[in-house]
Symmetry: C4
Subunit: 252 residues, 4 copies
């Protein structure tokens, strides 16, 4: 009953590689960060994952060509001391709980075979309010990863996120831990109200230190400025509204 | 756990055939178009598909006879240069996402064996407003099909439909593409508020050119006129209401 | 993953038997009718059906003893010209669509082996308003059953029920038809607002004629009178309210 | 498609043991009672149960370490005449109905093999109002267990709980009964509005008598006093509000 198809675009083998998960989530922080990294590192697509755990839907590209909803893996061969990287991205996560488990199990098997030994998941941590200076919060499968994250400026706040981590960012770590794959989650603080390139940018700054790669963040930071500018305009309008009509609350 | 039964009413084999999908959807455009074509071409039922992915329900015909909800295939042997056709119609699509995948996979296997090499799916593209002159939008599995659709007057608008195509009309193409079956979707613009024979009629006009068949559309066009007439009466009433009570908005 | 257990309390074999389904539904008409028949005919329990398609729940009897939610079969050996009967009753139907299909398939296999050749399903037809003189509407798997139902006073109204028959009452007929088991559904008209013994009673009157059994309906009719009495009191109160405050609608 | 993993932390074998279920539920009464018992008896973790029937989620401990959502078994070797105990606890029950069945079946198989012959499930019985002196209500798989519960001060009220017992507390008994495992449920009355240590404490008092163990309840009773104190303050505020503004209802 479950449909699943793994399409191998390029057969690859990596060495002691890190899987970087950047599927859609709060503020799309993880997706933005992973997509930016794929572009900057010029990572190449190697695998497409199709599954009935995704919505029954095709997306249409600019040429009018349909493509079934999927998740995709991109790889990057580390230069010098850099570790090999594998990226997990896509338009959707599994649509229900058993589907999430099934997909994450499939992906872990797949990436282990390719040579992945560590999993970093990237996501947003929604605060429900504007975050002028977002921090990067962490969680990890072991004390060692916690320590390495702390050295990269990732903060660990006791009891946060209180609800744990839901979805692929949590499940890949939890299921990976059961299979002795170490890893951790980098969560950029975000309002959760909109796509948040600033949060993605601070996540990437921590990731740079962790991975020892140098990434040009100017494009993301430019987009972050644009979002900031729009947000500030909205705040100004709101403030002016209040100043111009001081009696409104009294009357209303 | 999954119940599935294929009942073969007539054993058939087609040659380089086109599957035309017309299951219920927005404005029932695809269903209206496919049912009209079945009637005009006098296509014959060959297969019934029963599945626990459909609602647990029987329908009752005019004689009081119950029939389990299903999907059905009708065939038409092309005359002269016409290609053979197979129609997929029914009262329901699969009721959930894994069910949609499972049914579409079953149907693709089934029709491939019968001789289908191309899939055209028919549907409506809901605009959320009245559409006096509906266009036919397209999406396809390959550049070749896009070009053939354009020659038949089908329009490709960059980034539309933005949400892609959900349900059997999308999935049959997406899953078919993974199995090297080419195809495309014809979407008649429609308000989405009601069953729309005018939109079905424009879809059929494009389809005539694609298939090289000649179809009498007078019945559909008659129904389209009736719907137009009712819509106009409703608009008149609405307009008069507004004119007769100019102060309502002021007072209210 | 699917849990299913058939517990045989008494091993039985019937001859050309009729399955009478009376699971919960609109107005609990089918359940009331089947339970009344079981009591009047002193039918005996032979099989318990447990399944993960039922709610994860135990019921507690008057002694404080828990019993897992199930469906049960009761049998009655026909006397003289009477046909053997098997009753399907329970507190719940399957909780989702695939579960309904799975349970009905299981039940059909089970009862065929016991000797069932005909299925009559009993239910209510909700009208959304009080029904002083409920009729019994029918639907069936074949012209022959339609004719036999008509002779028993069952009415066939063109296009009713428009939505067909949902749940076990429909599915047992639809799936049975695919396996060449004939049958039909008897639907007592009911408001659908409350448990309706009057509707159950008219269904049983039709059933008596169909089965050629004589059933004492006095208890059901007594309960029907009580429900009528309460309904009339409620109507009186409502009417008086309106009479005492004649201006309410005018003012409001 | 279903993911399930049993991780054995310590291989154990018990003798004629009792399983005590304390998963989350109404007022978290069962969970509080079981966790208190685990602590007081210094029971040790022996098994972790992972399953795709739990939410796709990791929890984060105080060190920032992620752990996949699971259920856990703790054991206690009875001293002298005490029976061996096995505890079932966790942060979640199965998230849907088939998942509940599947997990409970898995757990019953597992604990039977370890040596469990009796199942006591612990829960809350929500009354929807404050309960100054909560009673412990019972339900059981047999007359014998009912009698033993009554001797321990557990009350059986005819027709309560009217809705039966939903979830693991009911299902473990119902499925266990089908496998000839006896057992019963202890339900502490609770408002259902908040976590209720007082209700957990009265459940444990009954359990002490049933198990013949001596448990220090002072910590739970201290927490119960704190909750009582807060509740009383809230009631005072509410009462004062009403007294200070006697006309509010009149005016409003």
């Amino acid at each position: 009953m479950v449909f699943s198809e793994i399409v191998t675009k390029e057969k690859i083998s990596l060495n002691d590689a890190i899987l970087l998960e950047g599927l859609p989530g709060v503020g799309n922080v993880g997706k933005l960060a992973a997509m930016h990294l794929i572009e900057e590192l010029n990572a190449k697509k190697c695998i497409e994952i199709y599954s009935s755990h995704f919505p029954p839907q095709v997306l249409i590209d600019d040429e009018g060509i349909v493509n079934l909803v999927n998740n995709e893996l991109y790889y990057y061969n580390g230069k010098g001391k850099e570790r090999d990287l594998l990226f997990l991205v896509g338009e959707y996560q599994g649509i229900d709980s058993p589907g999430q488990y099934d997909l994450c199990q499939t992906i872990i098997s797949l990436v282990k075979e390719i040579g992945v030994t560590t999993i970093y998941t990237l996501g947003g941590y929604g605060l429900g309010k504007l975050v002028p200076e977002p921090r990067v919060l962490g969680a990890a499968t072991s004390k060692e990863v916690v320590d390495s994250f702390k050295k990269a400026g990732v903060e660990f706040v006791d009891g946060e996120p209180g609800a744990g981590i839901v979805g692929a960012s949590g499940l890949l770590l939890g299921l990976g831990k059961l299979q002795n794959i170490q890893g951790g989650c980098l969560m950029g603080e975000t309002s959760g109200y909109m796509v948040d390139p600033k949060s993605a940018s601070v996540v990437l700054k921590s990731l740079q230190k962790l991975l020892g790669v140098n990434i040009n963040l100017s494009e993301l930071e430019e987009r972050a400025k644009q979002v900031d500018s729009i947000t500030n305009q909205l705040k100004d309008i709101e403030t002016n509204d209040k100043e111009d009509s001081p009696d409104m609350n009294y009357i209303g």
